[in-house]
Amino acid sequence: MTRPTLRVALIGNPNCGKSTLFNALTGRRQKVANFPGVTVEWVEGSYVHEGTTVSVLDLPGTYSLSPDAPDEVITYDVVHGRAAGLDPVDVFVVVLDAENLERNLYLATEVLELGRPTVVVLNRIDRLPAAEMKVDVVELIHALGAIVVPSVATTQEGLDRVRHCIARAPDVPPSDLRASGAITDGQNAERRYEWISAVMARTVTRTGTRGTRSSDRVDAVLLHRVWGPLIFVAVMAIAFQALFLVATPLASLLQLGLGSLSDVLRGVLPAGDFQSLLIDGALGGVGSVIVFVPQIALLFLFIGALEDSGYLSRAAFVMDRFMRPLGLQGKSFIPLLSGYACAVPAIMATRTIPQTKERLATIMVVPLMSCSARLPVYTLLISAFVPAVTIGYVLTLQGLALLAMYIFGTVAALAAAAVFRRTLLRSDTRALIIEMPAYAKPTIRVLLSTVWQRVAVFLQRAGTVIFAISVLLWAMGHYPQAGTPSAPVSEEAQLAQSALGQVGHAVEPLVRPLGLDWKIGVAMVASFAAREVFVSTMATMYGVPQHETVHTELAARLRDARAPGTGRPTYTRAAAFGLLAFYVFALMCTSTIAVTVRETGGGWQGARWAALQFSYMLVLAWGSAFVVYRVALALGAG
């Protein structure tokens, strides 16, 4: 392994384009988005320049070297060589957002004061004409006494110069703002800004009037006390309708493909256990989850578009008013909304919340937000038990039911946060100060890259965890065999006698009060490893053939299942609604548990928080399922 010979750290204000530059330099695919606080821990990548391996650290954004939030502490530690497990940095690369130069220069002066080799990258120079600004780069070089490289990280403009300057930086005498008298010891922020203002006057020319921007007119509507929240709800409603309307035809196409593959395998392989294992077990289980890729891709496309447009910070500000009575502030809203995609990065995103107890409360409730792994379960149960009727011209009852699941999760998360903030995590709520990033048109390339990365993670889970569980469940469902080749028994009898059936009967007392049978009990137990396993387990247990539409077929089988003897439906609508409630609230994700342990302090302290999180969500899930089932029964949904 080549030892890195040059260690570089990217430093800059939040949302100035550090991660985009990092990706451009190293070829990595670190998450980027248009709101402050996307990067919350250091990430390392590397590239080779003229035979030298350059190791690059992408650091969380910070406004100054006086840290406030946990993510800013990481940057402070790296800059001062105190980060555990990291070698000292050779070259600092200060990334400046050219559009917000005055504010960005504050941090730049603090870094330049350190007297270490530094390269200043003037990023986003392509936005200057629209902002009616011109920057005199030569004058800026003179003022800072440092190397300044203009660049557009998104299009990789100026990247070669950046690489070249980084390589030469150790040989260039570092800027010394103290020696030049620009900065003096103990200088306060006001004096520093005075110096920056003088530099701005020499380097920046404004070709237009510095008054109201077009984005301010948009903000007047989006941040409005009444229109702001209404627009947010409308945006969410449209998105969840689209998930059902647009993704369904795509999912049907995937199902057709899987059905054809199944037919081919059935024609090629001799009938027997191996054929059944491959088609009913592996392909049935994995395929039943893969068909949800279009829904999941659309969900990530929607969240990615929100992030890249700059709307997310606006939504956080608008929602602050509603979250404050619950003990949270608007900054908690971004992790909560990210939880719609996946709880793991959402929990990490809480590092931008400076107040410890607010952050802990947010971590404890993030998994209540309906993540993408719940989507297959929701879709299956809603398809099976909610009529496919249209309301008006555009709304569908199934789409509204899906929206309701997300609303239940969100309301539960906010209510749970209120309880935590009034009991275990009581403290004053900090006032909200949040930066509104400039609006930007989402970059298709970046959006598609983000969607692909997320879908790849989902497919990886399908190919590993879900595959393994599907094969295991198939084996448990087929052995021990109840019949003999000369006296075969029905599929139902075989399943009941199998190892899977015995596990199911053991857990049945726990699910019977919810109106559910042992088969659902097995699927619930299996899905504690990963929620989407519920669908594959049901597909495996019901032996759904890979013809035409897997989840449509499975939905029909659930709807039409009849109890032996009585002929009454095995799963009533009331039980299905209760089951939906269970999946809204239950924490069934080992990755989420692991990240909660880490982000709440690690070790025993983290384990205790994670145990509390798992337990309260399980109690909430079972209790809600029971109440929903009983209420629905009383309302005649039996």
Binding site: Y63, D68, S197, D216, A220, R321
Partner: protein
Amino acid sequence: MYEGASVGIVDRRNGVLLDVCGSRLALDATMAGAIVVDPTPA
């Protein structure tokens, strides 16, 4: 984080939206209501 910077008010119908060194900074209503502006001696 913006100590010492000159600020301008862009909008104050819902909290306050400030122009701080070219950036837009939103403050919630509680904080906006608590701001006291002291005249600086000439």
